[in-house]
């Protein structure tokens, strides 16, 4: 049961990480955009989301969004009842929050790519989209890896919060097991060891990915 929960935890983690990377790339491009309005909106997104606790946002999305939609529909004269799937709202919220964190990571990585490279690509006649895809993005990824690794570590621990909205992931299952067996310490401790295992595993993967990404770099 705990292992089943752990599998769901990893699914939630991976899908929200994918969303976070996607949002982060868009956010970083917006922050670096020439338009002042877009920059301002992206700035609002990162500061506001990073300033609010995850738990409040999760509760806000899970309970707040359906009622908000219902209220709007009621104003328009429709009568309907919506409730969000805990998996989807959990992934959406966690992805949304850590999208803000990865925006900053990608922004830093983008700025770390030497300008000369982009100029050289332009000189070779590449249009801007092609330059981004072929030159900037691959190099950015290399600079972004350590930061993304950190985001992932925090994210996987934040998925424990989704247990609050009753998604049967690792934490929730440990809670149920603890209640039925009256051995809370044992189950929560085992759960914590599983989280520790996930962390150690991702650490090793991250090291491997960084080594692979940096295989073209000469070091003194």
């Amino acid at each position: 049961m705990l292992l089943k929960g752990a599998r769901l935890t990893i699914y939630v983690g991976l899908s929200s990480m994918a969303l976070a990377v996607f949002l982060g790339l868009i956010g970083a491009l917006c922050k670096l955009s020439g338009s002042r309005i877009i920059r301002f909106l992206a700035g609002c997104y990162t500061t506001v989301v990073r300033g609010i606790p995850e738990l409040v946002l999760i509760l806000l999305v899970y309970y707040g969004v359906p009622t908000l939609i219902q209220d709007i529909c009621a104003l328009l004269g429709y009568e309907l009842y919506i409730s969000l799937n805990p998996f989807i709202s959990g992934v959406a919220t966690i992805g949304f929050i850590y999208g803000a964190f990865s925006t900053e990571v990608f922004r830093g990585a983008y700025m770390a790519v030497p300008k000369g490279q982009i100029e050289a690509a332009r000189a070779c006649g590449m249009p801007s989209v092609l330059t981004f895809r072929r030159i900037t993005l691959p190099q950015m990824m290399r600079f972004a890896l350590p930061g993304l690794g950190n985001v992932w570590m925090v994210l996987i621990k934040a998925t424990a919060l989704i247990s609050v909205i009753q998604l049967p992931e690792l934490m929730r299952n440990a809670d149920i097991a603890a209640r039925t067996t009256h051995k809370p310490f044992t189950f929560f401790f085992v759960a914590s060891l599983i989280y520790l295992g996930i962390t150690i595993g991702s650490n090793i993967l991250q090291q491997w990915a960084e080594n692979r990404a940096n295989r073209g770099v000469r070091r003194a």
């Binding site: 606790p53 738990l55 009622t67 809370p184």
Partner: protein, 230 residues
């Protein structure tokens, strides 16, 4: 209607804010006092000294805070006999105590790692110079290494305090009435979910900016010779 409800719940939310401030403040202060000796032990060359500290830091940084809170609050029930024998059971029964304990241990582990980075960032020349002046051991740490390390680590420590402030919202799950706890109760009674949670989010934003302001001021003060503007 929404504005009325928010105005009505203001006193309770402010009370919750005070609880959040107390919880975070207490944990930051105790956690800081724990983190300094821990980080000094962490850089020790003696295996028997740094290994246990490393294990402590590793565990608390590698597991979610929610698990730690549950482990202390619910998990302590499994040791009821032992805890009441040594007279600590009444403490572990209080959600407030368990909240402070878990937040403190958590922040101590994270900040010990931050201060370790600071200690290792102290230029070796300064340590050498202090040694040449005849300082050793505790005096060296007190006068040279720790002040310098604190200056290096301060921006990262500011982040940690902000994270702790946000993480303190988790204690609402074990029935402590902080901002989130109050918001959940009001929301459950009035069904005004988004109004109340957005209000709570604004409260947190204000607190975060307050902490940032205070910590920038301290940074400015302790790095006055570097002329960092606040």
């Amino acid at each position: 209607m929404a504005a009325e409800l928010i105005l009505d719940s203001m006193p309770r939310l402010l009370q919750g804010t005070w609880t959040t401030i107390q919880l975070t403040g207490l944990s930051v202060v105790i956690g800081f006092c724990l983190a300094i000796p821990l980080s000094v032990m962490r850089v020790s060359t003696l295996r028997s000294v740094w290994m246990p500290v490393y294990a402590f830091i590793f565990y608390f940084r590698g597991t979610p805070l929610l698990v730690q809170i549950f482990l202390i609050y619910y998990g302590s029930g499994q040791f009821q006999g032992f805890l009441s024998d040594i007279g600590l059971w009444s403490l572990f029964q209080s959600a407030w105590f368990c909240a402070v304990l878990s937040l403190t241990l958590n922040t101590a582990a994270y900040s010990a790692e931050i201060f370790r980075g600071g200690i290792q960032g102290v230029p070796f020349g300064e340590v050498e110079a202090a040694r040449a002046c005849g300082m050793s051991g505790a005096l060296l740490y007190r006068r040279i290494i720790l002040p310098k390390a604190l200056r290096i680590a301060w921006p990262a420590y500011t982040n940690e305090v902000i994270f702790l402030l946000q993480a303190s919202s988790l204690v609402s799950i074990i029935t402590v009435m902080d901002i989130t706890g109050v918001a959940r109760v009001i929301a459950a009674r009035s069904f005004a979910f988004y109004e109340i949670f957005i209000t709570a989010a604004v409260f947190y934003l204000v607190l975060v900016y307050g902490v940032l302001f205070v910590f920038r001021r301290i940074e400015h003060r302790i790095s006055a010779h570097l002329k960092v503007s606040p």
